[in-house]
Symmetry: D2
Subunit: 135 residues, 4 copies
């Protein structure tokens, strides 16, 4: 999703490091999109009754990731406090969800892919939280 | 939006106080829906250039409120930590946005309505955060 | 959700009949919010394996209703064609979902509430499609 | 976003051609994410008053693309009718939005990037509509 980086570099409020924000936004969309698909794959498994917690956590984490992606994408007149709490929520949602998906990673490839995306998304959110762009 | 309260009361994991959660969910949807409409009304004002910060903050807060509504609506196998961080993010987004909308409340009725909805949503999120339902 | 009607009446592009649009927007949010909660209630039912189709259809219909609510809420420089196709999609999604939820209405109160909300939402979408506001 | 293709290939209801659906889902997320960022970039332009229609259309199209991405991602018990109307709505929204963004493509790189993404998304939606996967 490199186009988003080019777009940020051409934004009137070009950030000092467009790729730092682009990496986080791309990770949020990637994680959210995989979780929507994974929750549907879990729903189709014959053992769906055992996957209820995994489905529910994935639906929550998908909603949080996709809303965070939108918030982080906006560079105009940002509110550092709002950005900080939403990035914190997203990192925490991804941490919780990666642990849940990890429990099924050995059984289901779709859960393994999601656990990995959650960890990557958590890391990029924390990197942005601690990066220069929020100070 | 009283139907959501009846639905929670008929959920297999009926919460001790369905109306506490229903009030928060309804406030999140109400606030998010008003912010989507208000950001569009601001965009249509002849003085749009002065309202850029208000539009941007409203778009962010709408996304956060509508995602929070979805997360809080799920009563199955909840993750207290995920719920806590997202409610905190929503309360903070509403606080920031209510102050922004308040600046234009005397000028635009649509901003006055939104400022009020943001304060109500912030309060219900904090009430749920401090309520028994998360312990 | 009467505040949205007051907001539309105070929009710079005040529509001829603000309550017609407000009724549709409120029905889309109501239906979407109930479907998010109902899909979670279905997921918590001991017979979840029989409810897979109902859960999946509800998740789809919720996404379509909540996106349609946002689109219909914007009164500034509307695109009649875009509005028409999205209202058509929402009416059809609600028709499909009301039939699916109806199959479980006798068994689960949460499905009965959703089937009713889907029918109401379908009707308001069709009313707006055939109303004067799109011509 | 190739992980989504691998996930579809490992879904219990593996589609005959996972890459056809993955291409459409990826294009919907790509287009939606660029439109959220572009509407914010337009809002930051000194000539924002001339870009009101472009911002509004981009916000609508973003909402439609991101909802369509979720619907198309679900492979369990699909409703061909629901899928067809939502893909039609998305293709139409992208057509309208690509024309709007094209008007500013020579002036703003962010609009040029979005116009291109809208055309790509429209094409993948139409390809899926006419493909074997919906019959």
């Amino acid at each position: 999703m490199e186009n988003i980086g080019i777009l940020f570099a051409n934004h009137p409020h070009r950030p000092p490091d467009p790729s730092l924000i682009a990496t986080c936004v791309a990770a949020c969309y990637e994680c959210g999109s995989l979780l929507v698909a994974c929750s549907d794959a879990c729903l189709a498994e014959p053992r769906v009754a055992e996957l209820v917690c995994c489905i529910r956590t994935s639906l929550d984490c998908a909603d949080v990731c996709l809303a965070t992606a939108r918030v982080v994408s906006r560079l105009t007149e940002p509110s550092p406090m709002l950005l900080e709490v939403q990035l914190t929520a997203c990192a925490e949602a991804c941490r919780v969800c990666s642990e849940e998906c990890d429990s099924y990673a050995a059984m289901f490839e779709h859960c393994r892919i999601c656990a990995k995306a959650c960890r990557a998304c958590e890391q990029t959110c924390r990197a942005l939280l601690h990066g220069a762009s929020l100070t």
